[in-house]
Symmetry: C2
Subunit: 285 residues, 2 copies
């Protein structure tokens, strides 16, 4: 691992065609110290084997994606949500990562389409986080609340700003509930400088994920994430805000993008490293 | 005009197939007191004739859409922006409306694609608003800053929240710079209750526009607006926040939607009225 890459992590969603074993191998060969994993891929590979593959390659798991989907309004949905998230907490612990990324879920769907009670869904997120805190604490895992871009508020995450995520986290210990800063989701936020500083002050900044916001918005808006430098985000200010908090954790490249998924993962990783070194690392201090 | 519709205005973008004359006639026949107009359509119809058509039908112009696109970074772009907006101010005055809706513009495009300096673009919005205030004041017109959904931050409006629009307005007289609340653009905002209350307190709430946020996001995201009741927005809380400020102005139905544009405008207006009476009016007090 070269020193220049000492904080760069490959989130394996970026190189979707690679198996977990291939992604770990690719990251290690490229000189990266860490990978961010997804539960689905860990399940396919096997939990113990996934942990061993990462360890044997000399890497760390920077975060596990993801828990969440906390907004169910009915008893059965609530029960399934808690069971699934407790399993995710245990998997994070088994993989040796402290950071479990939480995409909190959108408006629940019923027979009539989406429920429209946004305030209610937001209250349930706070309630379910509270329900999960003891299990997370017992496993030394931190629930990282991820605010998502407001275009996903209805179908994916009712937490839309970093401030809002910090407000939910506030009543819990900082070592058990934290937040994610993902450039795609927060770059537009006029309150970002203050919110990132607050996340640092409150000791809750658990992950910094990078990818670009590309235009036009992709036909599947979830895949509108682009390689750093291909979109409209200026990584200098966001990265500087993160660095100013004293954050010394990993910088995870996490990109969902149909063209990048169709490309050679080796090449995608090479480009990601080049862009990281040029657009992000200079501002990490 | 029936009393139940005394505050409902048809923004003519909703019934795009209708000429201005047809929209004015359709609104009058349906019992609406007002229309919201677009500059392009006014230009096609002629300014004096547009004003006369509205007046002769016994209607008012609730707002003129739109000025804005204030973010140009070069001298030539700045000059064109100011000239265009001064013309828009004069047109609003000629049409007898005080309210000029301002879509402030995204990141300017250069030879290399979008400029990425979001903070700089936001500063230029404040500067251009200041440049335009004297002309607006002299014509008795109010520049209504419209925060747009953050999915448009890069290509359409760098003002993404109502709070941000109010912060730009703050240094100017309330009768010359105001804000728009459009349900589509702001429903996701966790700070909405406080921001709408502030807009009322500061005397800046100049227009309330309604339409729904539909899923999935349309292939052209600008057309993702839907008929009230067809999407995920609960109109009760937003409308209640607006009503609680003492707002007694018009409620403009403004929908850009390919299916609605393909439908019979008469039918679209009938549905809009029915939805307004059911989903919005009960919360206007």
């Amino acid at each position: 691992m070269t020193d220049a890459l000492a904080r760069l992590s490959l989130n394996t969603a970026t190189t979707k065609r690679w198996t977990l074993a291939e992604a770990v191998d690719g990251a290690a060969r490229a000189g990266l110290p860490a990978v961010g994993l997804w539960r689905e891929q860990v399940a396919t590979t096997g939990l113990a084997r996934s942990a061993r593959l990462v360890r044997d390659a000399g890497l760390r798991v920077s975060s596990l994606c993801r828990g969440g989907f906390l907004t169910a309004a009915d008893d059965d949905g609530r029960r399934r949500c808690l069971a699934g998230n407790r399993a995710a907490i245990e998997e994070a612990a088994a993989l040796g990562t402290r950071e479990l990324v939480m995409v909190v879920g959108g408006l629940p769907c019923g027979g009539q389409g989406h429920d429209r009670d946004l305030a209610g869904a937001r209250r349930r997120v706070a309630d379910r986080v509270a329900d999960l805190v003891p299990h997370a604490r017992d496993h030394g895992v931190r629930l990282l609340l991820e605010p998502l871009h407001p275009m996903y508020v209805a179908d994916r995450a009712v937490l839309s700003t970093l401030t809002q995520a910090l407000d939910v986290a506030l009543v819990h210990p900082a070592e058990t509930v934290g937040v994610v800063v993902d450039t795609f989701h927060v770059f537009w936020d006029p309150d970002l400088p203050g919110a990132v500083a607050r996340a640092g002050r409150e000791g809750r900044l658990g992950a910094y994920q990078v990818c670009d916001f590309t235009l036009p918005i992709a036909p599947d808006p979830l895949l509108s994430r682009g390689m750093m430098g291909d979109g409209v985000i200026d990584f200098a200010p966001v990265t500087s805000f993160v660095a100013a908090t004293g954050y010394t954790g990993d910088v995870e490249v996490e990109i969902f993008n149909a063209s990048l998924w169709a490309a050679d993962p080796e090449e995608v990783l090479r480009t990601a490293i080049e862009r990281y070194l040029r657009l992000i690392r200079p501002f990490l201090r």
